[in-house]
């Protein structure tokens, strides 16, 4: 599971008012190289919840991102930042671990990189 995916997932347990973002528990992180696509990064940047992304990247062991989201124009001018953004967003994979509901503490397992977001009977 990439952080791009994590940035779009939320806990939908009954009664939870704000299930985003899910906390990450790491058991195994894998890095997989992906070719940089400048246009894609430019398009996706405004849709990223930066705080959630920043926090998640640190949990995954990557400390290079700035805490504050820069202006979008930085993506055009600062190749170094673009590379870091790309790396954290797309090249870090949570292979094994869990996503944790911020309100209830319920853990959604991540196995072989796939989050299992199915709810139990009493959570629906």
């Amino acid at each position: 599971m990439r952080l791009l995916t994590h940035n779009m997932l939320s806990s939908n347990i009954k009664g939870v008012t704000n299930g985003f973002p899910l906390r990450i528990e790491v058991e195994k992180v894998v890095e997989k190289q992906v070719e940089i696509n400048h246009d894609f990064l430019m398009n996706i940047f405004p849709k990223i919840d930066w705080k959630a992304f920043f926090d998640a990247s640190r949990v995954m062991g990557y400390v290079e991102l700035p805490e504050e989201a820069p202006e979008p124009s930085v993506l055009e001018s600062d190749l170094e930042f673009l590379r870091k953004f790309h790396h954290a967003l797309l090249e870090l994979h949570l292979e094994e671990g869990a996503l944790v509901c911020p309100e209830t503490g319920r853990k959604f397992p991540v196995n072989k990189g796939i989050p299992n977001m199915l709810l139990h009977e009493d959570e629906v």
Binding site: L4, T5, M8, L9, N111, L119
Partner: protein, 346 residues
Amino acid sequence: MTSAFQTSYSPLPHFPRTCQRPPVRRPSVLFSSSRTCQSPARFMSIRVNAAASTTSDGRALLDGIAEFYDESSGLWEDMWGDHMHHGFYDPDSNVSGSDHRSAQIRMIEESLRLAGISDDPAKRPKTIVDVGCGIGGSSRYLARKYGATCRGITLSPVQAGRANVLAEAEGLADRVSFQVADALKQPFPDGQFDLVWSMESGEHMPDKAKFVNELMRVAAPGGKIIIVTWCHRDLLPSEESLQLWEKKLLNRICNAYYLPEWCSTADYVKLLESLSLQDIKAADWSQHVAPFWPAVIRSALTWKGFTSLLRSGLKAIKGALVMPVMIEGYQKGVIKFAVITCQKPE
């Protein structure tokens, strides 16, 4: 959601986790006489079944669906590729083997066309969700077509894994990802997706109202929803329900494919209207999918198909045995191949 609901209303049919005993002809519990298509009571019972879906019967259905696809997905992919849906054909056309894949692509394109999805780079969808994504054929196709991101959800861990592998192989892994999740409880915040896509997964949903509600919830304002699904024929104004022989026919299909109760195209349209969705369009494409099941049967009867089926397991075999019933259902006008599209208000 308490078990009190279960005692007052007909429970969902029990789907056995294993197929060790031969399939038993049991009285249909899917269509009790208290349920009608036209009256509000039907939607009440659909909502009450939502409570039932959280009980062990509902869990059995989810597990059954997951196991069915865990078991048979690889077989389908071997024979037919990564699109697990009907092809779109010109009526009365002669189709040969190689035409089926392009027919499946055409099904996607015709659905997009009905919904009026624009190719204009400024207006085309940028975020897409594929609800009941299979091994991600639609997701990858749409992501590539529109340069969009796509999230797919499926109950089957095998399918999600395979879908991710294929995305990686096709260089789309940065934009397309797949998760195990329930379409009735999508793990996404509200209003995320410009295009909400459900290609032949609606027939698995035990609670159509909840299903449609979730589709609407995750759609962005102004976003479009496309549902392609198997329905039963619309009821006549004088009818309370399908005829008994029709219910029995559908029941045989339900048991093999882990389908809960069928509804009609008109039911879907009513649900969308009740949610104030706009620009609702519905079409019956039954005549455009007629060559599909005979082609699937032919592929199952080839040496490769037959031996692979035997190796896949009992659920896949049961599914294969019921294919002639699908054809019968279409021929007798019981089953309709429905496309329903709409737009969420801005």
